[in-house]
C-alpha cells in the first residue's frame, strides 16, 4: 500500500481523496446518528427507573412516571432504609448464594475442564459427550422439579438456590478450550517432579488459567446474582428469598410489603409510597451490578469472544 501511493499522479490522488471524504462523511454521519439512537435506546429505561424512584409519590399518582422528576423526593429510599430488615435478609441470601455458588461452581468447572483437556486421558471424548448430551436432550421441567421437591426434599433450603446452577456444560467447554491452549511441556515438566494430577491442576494449571477463571467466575456470579427462577419454583419461606425474587414479589404484590413494613415499624399503610418504592427497590436490587459493571465488563467481552471462536 505505502509503496503504491507515491505512484499516483497528484490529480488522481486529490480527486480520490475528495470522493473518499464525502462518502466517509456520510458514513460517519450515519454511524454517529444510529449509534447515538441505539445508545439512548439502551440507556433510557435505566434513567426512567432511576428518576421514577426519585419522584414524589403524589406526583406519580397525579401525572404518572416522568423522565425528569417534577417533584424530587427521597421518600422511597428513606422508607426502604428505615425498615430494611426484609431487604437486608434478601441481600444476605443473595450474597451468600452468589459467593458459595461461584466458589464451588468455579472449582468444579475448572477441575472437570482440566480432566477433559488432558489429551492423554483415554476416555475424554466419552465423558465430554456424557456432559454435552445434556444440552441436547432433557427430561423437561416436571421430572426435574419432582426430583428436587419430592425425592431430594430440597424445597425451602439454601441448597436449592445453589445446587441446580452449580455447573453448566457451556462453561466447562469454554474452560476446557482455554486449558487446552496451555503448552503441554509445562505439564510434562511437573510430572517429572512427581506431582500427581490433582496437584498439577491445583498448583500449575489453575494459576495459568487466571483469565479464564475470572471470566467464567463472573459469568457464574452474575447468574447467581440475577437468579429468581429457582426461588420461584422452590422457595416459599420468606427468610430464604433472594434479592431478585424479593423484587419480583414486591412488584406483583405490594400488600405483602406493606404488611411486613407495618409489622416492622407500624407505619400507616397510606404512608408507604407504593409506586416510587417499586422503582427504588429495583435500583437497590440492581445497584451492585451497576457499580461493578464498568470494572467487570471487559471480562465478559473476553468470555464472549472465546465463546464465539468456539461457536
Amino acid at each position: 500500500m505505502k509503496l503504491i501511493v507515491p505512484k499516483l499522479t497528484p490529480t488522481q490522488s486529490s480527486v480520490g481523496k475528495k470522493r473518499m471524504a464525502t462518502d466517509r462523511l456520510l458514513l460517519h454521519l450515519l454511524g454517529y446518528t444510529v449509534l447515538t439512537v441505539l445508545t439512548v435506546f439502551c440507556l433510557f429505561p435505566f434513567i426512567l427507573v432511576i428518576s421514577s424512584s426519585l419522584t414524589e409519590e403524589s406526583s406519580i399518582i397525579r401525572d404518572g412516571f416522568q423522565l425528569i422528576p417534577t417533584s424530587f423526593s427521597l421518600e422511597a429510599y428513606a422508607i426502604l432504609f428505615k425498615y430494611p430488615q426484609e431487604m437486608l435478609k434478601a441481600y444476605g441470601i443473595t450474597i451468600t448464594v452468589t459467593l458459595l455458588g461461584t466458589l464451588f461452581g468455579l472449582f468444579l468447572t475448572s477441575m472437570t475442564a482440566y480432566v477433559l483437556s488432558r489429551k492423554d486421558f483415554k476416555w475424554r471424548n466419552r465423558f465430554s459427550f456424557f456432559f454435552f448430551f445434556t444440552t441436547l436432550f432433557s427430561g423437561g421441567l416436571v421430572p426435574w422439579y419432582l426430583l428436587i421437591v419430592n425425592y431430594l426434599q430440597l424445597k425451602d433450603t439454601l441448597l436449592v438456590l445453589i445446587l441446580p446452577m452449580l455447573m453448566n456444560v457451556f462453561y466447562i467447554i469454554v474452560m476446557k478450550s482455554f486449558m487446552s491452549s496451555i503448552p503441554e511441556a509445562i505439564i510434562e515438566s511437573t510430572k517429572i517432579d512427581g506431582a500427581n494430577d490433582f496437584q498439577i491442576y491445583l498448583q500449575f494449571v489453575l494459576p495459568l488459567s487466571k483469565p479464564a477463571l475470572a471470566t467464567i467466575g463472573l459469568f457464574i456470579a452474575l447468574g447467581y446474582w440475577n437468579d429468581w427462577y429457582n426461588a420461584l419454583l422452590f422457595i416459599s419461606n420468606s427468610d430464604l428469598m433472594p434479592l431478585q425474587y424479593y423484587l419480583y414479589r414486591l412488584l406483583g404484590n405490594m400488600d405483602g410489603m406493606r404488611k411486613a413494613m407495618m409489622a416492622a415499624g407500624a407505619v400507616m399503610s397510606s404512608d408507604i409510597p407504593t409506586e416510587s418504592l417499586k422503582m427504588a427497590m429495583t435500583i437497590v436490587a440492581t445497584g451492585p451490578i451497576m457499580i461493578a459493571y464498568p470494572f467487570i465488563q471487559r471480562y465478559f467481552v473476553q468470555g464472549l469472544t472465546i465463546g464465539a471462536v468456539k461457536g
Binding site: F65, F198, W228, Y248
Partner: protein, 306 residues
Amino acid sequence: MKRSGLWNDIKKYKILLLMLTPAVLFFLLFAYVPMAGIVLAFKQYNYTGGVFGSPWNGLDNFRFFFDSGDAWRVTRNTGLYNLAFIIVNNALQIFAAILLFEAAGPWFRKITQTVMFLPYFISWVVVGAIAYNLFNYDYGTINVLLGALGLEPLDIYNTASYWPLILIVVSAWKALGYGTIMYLAAITSIDTEMYEAAEIDGANVFQRIRRITIPNLYPTAIILMLLAIGNIFRGDFGMFYNMVGNNGLLFSSTDVIDTFVFRSLTTSNEIGMSAAAGFYQSILGFATIMLANYAVRKYDSDRALF
C-alpha cells in the same frame, strides 16, 4: 484379558477419574435421572404413587394436550417469536457492529459499546419492573407521553395484539450489546489487506462494506443463526414470565411452551399433561438441534457442535 486392561486403565487414571466424579454425579442426578422421569408423560400422576407407582394412562396426557388446542398455540408462539428474535436481533447487531467498526472513533466506540452491553447484565425481574414503568395503564410512561400529545391511553396489559411488537423490541434491547460484540470480533478479524486492495481499486466505503465486510460476516452470522434455529422451540421463560406473568388475557399471543409447562405444573397441577408437554418440547428441540447441527456441519464442519 480385557478386564485387566480396563482395571489397569482405571488405576492409571485413578486421580483424573476421581476429579471427574463430582461433575459426573451432578449431571447424572440433575440431567440423566430426570430423563427417566419422562415416564410421567404416560401416567396418571398421584402423590401416593409418585413417579414410578402411579398408574399408566397411555397417550391420554398427549391427547389432552393436543386436543385442547394449547399444543398448536404454544408451539406456534414459541417458534414464531424465536424466529423473529433471530432475524431482528442479528440484523440489528450486524448493523451496529459495522457502524461501530467503520464509523466511530475509539472514544465513541467505547462508550456506545459499554452502554449497549448494559441490558445484558440485569435480571428479567428488573426488565419486568421497567416494563411496568413503561406500560402501566395509570402511571406508565407511554401513557404519560400519549396524554401529553392529547391521545387516548393504551391498555397494554389487557391487549394481546401489542405484545409481539413489545417482546421483539425487548429482546432486541437485551441482546443488542452481546451480539454486537460477537460480530465486532468477527469484523476485527477480517484481513485488512482486503480493505487496502479495495481502497486502491477506488471503492467507496459503502461499496467496501457491501462487498467485503458483509460477505466476510456471512460465516459467523450463518453459524450463529443456525445454532439459534436449533433452539427455536426453547422459549425464554424468564423473559415471557416476567413480562407477561400469569395474565391470561395475553396468552393468545404470548404463551410459549415453557410458560405453559410451568403453569400446568404449578397452578393447574396437571402433572401428567405438563410432563407430556415437556417431553414433546424435548423431542422437538432434539430434532431441530440435530438438523441445525447437520446444516452447520455441511456449511463448515469445524464449527459444528459435534
